[in-house]
């Protein structure tokens, strides 16, 4: 549900004057970097953050006590600054000021996990060597203390000639010192021991020496993490729990979101009725009700479902379970020639393909990365959710299958997700055994300790996601709805609005109809397929407008109209079409940017469209023969 407009670094105007204007936050993966960023910027992030692992540099503003604004940049999590993966290159280029159109930061916040200081301190060498004012935030101090570890931050600060503070970003502990650092212009750090920059073993020795001088006492092993891993990675319980988690997510998307969706629907119906009663009958009122209310409203209803999905993704990621899921999935990934590292981008593709494609930057092997980019849009993104929900709810009655655990509709949804998953894996298999063949890449993944997700972090994700969704509803979807309404009412016949069949939109739909008739689609679906090239969920709004819904008709109205107008076989074909087709301009744009040309996005679009057409045709034939 994200657009690539979300990743543009718009509105970045560094302030000048005393203290820092642009501050970069850098740290190794799992150091709590994003939590710190959220703490400092609160709800004031200008650029949307993405679900899944932090990949795109997020930018946000923070206001100092003096009222001055500073810009914070959240860089990708890296272990070193030697640019090998795309992530490291981005971090390196921004910090050295060689990233085009991006100002060099004035200061750096280096965040390290204090429970893992032996390794994390190694990143301090190349970062401090940049010579920018740097504060070292020794995060997870609460965890360090609880597990009996010790660290003298003052001593470390003296050794490095840079301020250092023990903090807990999750609990908001120790952040006063960070605010002080941001408010005053600090001196650059002392020069780093040259030996630390030579190679990894020397850097490690340097870090160990520093740790000893700062009386670092590593904490006891995380007992709970080991206990939980004994269950989550158990040969029998592990996969079983994994399956249970997946089923719960799907049932929740349907069952838990329902009351909220009904509430949104009631509000849209009520407000539409209000507009209808206030305005006199006119083309303008018709535009508002049929275009804006039916078009945008029928998409807005799905916000609660998308939030439920993101809540689950947030819990899985913040708790540390995601890394275990990647571990469990690695064998399956290896079978199709990919690696476990591809799993995390693919999982975030369930939210949206755009951040998933950006997340592939952590994959060092170029061919693996391209293969992952090519299959990511086949994973069921949240923009498909409104389309699936509408069709399933219109054609499939709800019945319990596994008691209260799984109903028919959630099962149908699960089936569609599985379909996308299988298509993605079959495609990966073909790609990796032909044009993208490569040596088996190594799989190195850190298993972070389990942590309790914080409410503020989860809440922030949901607020963020709502913003993106509403922005899209207010821009792309609104624009398409208005344009469609205009095209559905022109040209005028004898000074009056024509019946919709004779309008421009109707003519376009009828022109496409011969091509899509073999799939069981009528011309209205044809118009929807055209408008949904902008974004998948637009088809829901388009059908809402085309079926001439009056605002007092409920969502059930559109479902009923569809049921009368579309054969069940056509409905199944439509679901299959949307499972496979690459109906998303944002994805095409981001693939072009990340692969550096039009070759891959064009191949991908052609392939997915053919797959969608072929799949829908077969589905239509099979269901027609059965019915």
């Amino acid at each position: 549900m994200s657009g690539c407009d979300d990743c543009a670094l718009v509105g970045l105007h560094p302030t000048t004057g005393n203290g820092a204007g642009v501050v970069a936050i850098i740290g190794p993966p799992n150091s709590g970097k994003s939590t710190l960023f959220n703490r400092l910027t609160g709800l004031r992030q200008k650029v949307a953050n993405y679900p899944g692992v932090t990949v795109e540099q997020r930018v946000g503003n923070a206001t100092l006590a003096s009222g001055r604004e500073i810009t914070l940049v959240d860089l990708p999590g890296v272990y070193s600054l030697s640019p090998r993966s795309e992530d490291e290159r981005v971090a390196h280029d921004i910090l050295t000021g060689t990233m085009p159109d991006f100002p060099r930061p004035d200061a750096i916040l280096l965040i390290l996990d204090s429970t893992n200081l032996g390794r994390h301190l190694m990143l301090a060498a190349p970062v401090l060597a940049l010579g920018l004012p740097t504060m070292i935030i020794l995060n997870m101090a609460d965890d360090l203390r609880a597990r009996g570890g010790e660290l003298d931050a003052q001593a470390l600060s003296r050794q490095l000639g840079a301020p250092a503070v023990l903090a807990s970003a999750a609990r908001g502990e120790g952040l006063e010192a960070v605010w002080d650092f941001l408010a005053t212009r600090s001196a650059p750090p002392a020069p780093v021991d040259a030996s630390a920059l030579q190679d990894v073993p020397k850097c490690h020795a340097w870090a160990a020496r520093l740790g000893r001088r700062a009386s670092y006492q590593p904490p006891a092993p995380p007992v709970w993490t080991r206990r939980l891993d004994a269950i989550f990675l158990h040969p029998v319980w592990g996969p079983l729990i994994f399956g249970l988690v997946v089923v719960t997510v799907f049932q929740a998307i349907f069952a838990w979101a329902r009351p909220l969706m009904d509430a949104v629907q009631s509000f849209i119906t009520w407000s539409g009725g209000l507009v209808a009663s206030v305005l006199p009958a006119s083309p303008f009122r018709s535009l508002l009700l049929e275009g804006v209310w039916s078009g945008v409203g029928s998409v807005l209803v799905f916000l609660p479902q998308i939030l439920v999905l993101f809540l689950f993704i947030g819990i899985l990621e913040d708790s540390g379970y995601l890394a275990r899921a990647a571990l469990i999935a690695d064998r399956t990934m290896a079978r199709v020639g990919l690696q476990g590292k591809s799993f995390i981008p693919l999982l975030s593709a369930y939210a949206c393909a755009v951040p998933a494609i950006l997340a592939t930057r952590t994959i060092e092997n170029k061919r693996d990365r391209t293969a992952t980019i090519l299959i990511a849009p086949l994973m069921t993104c949240s923009a498909r959710l409104p389309v699936y929900t509408l069709i399933i709810a219109a054609f499939l009655p709800e019945r319990p299958l596994l008691g209260p655990l799984l109903g028919t509709r959630a099962a149908a949804m699960l089936g569609l997700y599985l379909l996308g998953f299988l298509a993605a894996f079959a495609t990966a298999r073909v790609l990796k055994s032909s044009i993208l063949k490569s040596e088996r890449a190594s799989f190195l993944l850190e298993m972070p300790p389990y942590r309790r997700p914080t409410l503020s972090s989860l809440g922030l994700r949901l607020v963020d996601r709502s913003k993106i969704f509403l922005r899209r509803a207010g821009t792309v979807i609104l624009a398409v709805a208005i344009l469609l309404w205009v095209f559905a009412h022109l040209p005028l016949e004898h000074g009056k609005m024509p019946p919709v069949e004779n309008s421009i939109a109707g003519k376009v739909g009828h022109a496409i109809e011969p091509v899509i008739r073999p799939l069981g689609f009528n011309w209205k679906i044809g118009v929807g397929l055209v408008t949904s090239l902008a974004a998948r969920e637009v088809i829901v709004g388009t059908l809402g407008t085309l079926y001439g819904m009056e605002p007092d008709a409920k969502s059930r109205g559109l479902q009923k109209a569809l049921r009368q107008d579309l054969a069940p076989a056509g409905a199944v074909a439509l679901l299959v079409f949307f499972a496979f087709a690459m109906q998303c301009m944002s994805t095409i744009a981001v693939v072009r940017r990340e692969t550096g040309g039009w070759k891959w996005p064009l191949i991908q679009f052609a392939y997915m469209t053919l797959l969608a057409y072929g799949g829908a045709f077969v589905a239509y034939r099979i269901v027609s023969a059965l019915a």
Partner: protein
């Protein structure tokens, strides 16, 4: 700890809970650098922890962290012979 034919053993031979000391990494420079950044430095003690449900990839404890490696990678991380352990 079992010794293979040529007298060397790798991380793969460590059974769950067993500890060994890393001697060298027989992998291309970029992969071994990455492994070293994750804590697999010559001379570091490594403990075999759990694994994925199928037994591959396996999880190793090194330098206070848990890192998952595929068997084929773990087989290239050679351990010091027990006698030369400090």
């Amino acid at each position: 700890m079992q010794l293979s034919g040529n007298g060397t053993s790798s991380l793969v031979e460590l059974r769950r809970g067993e500890r060994g000391v890393l001697d060298r990494i027989e992998l291309p420079a970029d992969v071994s650098r990455r492994l070293m950044e994750l804590g697999f430095l010559p001379g570091s003690p490594v403990v075999a922890a759990g694994s994925a449900p199928g037994g591959d990839p396996r999880v190793f404890r090194v330098d206070g962290a848990e890192i998952a490696l595929r068997r084929e990678t773990a087989a290239c991380l050679i351990l010091r012979a027990p006698s030369s352990e400090p």
